[in-house]
């Protein structure tokens, strides 16, 4: 079991359901996504899927409670054992999809 040093995002598993963002007690997660219609010629109505554009965790606000990991229905968020590195400015602690892998 990984130590609770940081939270990682599996962007491919994320459905942009916003549950983690809305449950976060410190409001440290931001997520932007848009909807795309999936071409299915036989469908009577167009089906839409959410496409993740950006996902950010602000480690300066995060208190590592793990509620986001708990609520994620698709296990897109999980714990990792490598800690978050230092930053020289607050902006450096806002990690996006690539840093959260």
């Amino acid at each position: 079991m990984a130590a609770h040093a940081r939270i990682a995002l599996d962007a491919a598993a994320c459905t942009s359901c916003m549950l983690c963002v809305r449950e976060c007690p410190t409001w440290c997660i931001t997520l932007t996504a848009h909807q795309e219609s999936v071409g299915d010629p036989g469908a009577r109505r167009p089906r839409t899927v959410n496409v993740l554009d950006a996902f950010t965790i602000d480690w300066g606000l995060c208190m590592y409670c793990g509620i986001c990991v708990e609520v994620c229905p698709f296990d897109a968020l999980g714990w990792r054992s490598d800690p978050v590195g230092p930053a020289s400015a607050p902006e450096g602690l806002r990690h996006g999809i690539t840093e959260l892998r």
């Binding site: 997660i29 848009h34 909807q35 795309e36």
Partner: protein, 187 residues
């Protein structure tokens, strides 16, 4: 370790704590409050531990939220002084008999921060990240059928938990608010 719970009336709060302390539960683990605005009351809790007797007691009582007053237990449990001072600052409960109820952290200007109705300035100023909804953005890509239209599903706006609607400025209130103040007053 066994833990007993004891709900007492506010009038017998001090006597109960004194009795338990005399009975061996002399270690005050914590004394704190829970704000219950829906019931217009504040619950006060004290957790006492009898270390040699291996016994814990959680004493609870309720006080009126509009005028919260309770007898201090500092004379029987001296360690309660700091906890009562903190509870007074955070919840506004007056502990009669505690000689020092000076605030520990705040200046008193923002009210009692741990009462659920006290506005939290940073929560009012910061936009809630959970307000954005992927479904509100127009979908990209061609419609499946000619003339087919992908309607953005209107969803009820979710409110951030713990942030009361009356904290937000009136300019962001519901539409048609111009007519409501008069209508509210006349019933």
């Amino acid at each position: 370790m066994r833990c007993d719970e004891l709900a007492v009336a506010a009038t017998s709060w001090r006597a109960t704590c004194a009795e338990l302390a005399a009975d061996g539960a002399r270690m005050l683990d914590f004394l704190t409050c829970v704000d219950e605005p829906a019931d217009a009351r504040i619950e006060v809790l004290a957790h006492l531990v009898d270390v040699p007797g291996r016994r814990r007691v959680l004493v609870r009582t309720t006080v009126d939220r509009a005028d919260p007053e309770l007898d201090s237990v500092v004379d029987v449990l001296p360690g309660a002084a700091w906890h009562e001072r903190e509870a007074h600052e955070m919840f506004g409960v007056r502990f009669t008999g505690n000689p020092d109820l000076r605030p520990l952290l705040t200046t008193g200007a923002m009210g009692h921060p741990l009462r659920r109705t006290t506005p939290l300035p940073s929560r009012v100023q910061t936009p809630w990240p959970g307000a954005s909804d992927p479904a509100e953005r127009p979908p990209e890509g061609p419609p499946v059928r000619p003339g087919g239209r992908v309607a953005a599903r209107p969803r009820s706006r979710l409110a951030p938990p713990g942030v009361l609607p009356e904290w937000t400025p009136a300019t962001e209130g519901p539409r048609g608010a111009e007519g409501t103040p008069g209508a509210e007053g006349s019933t």
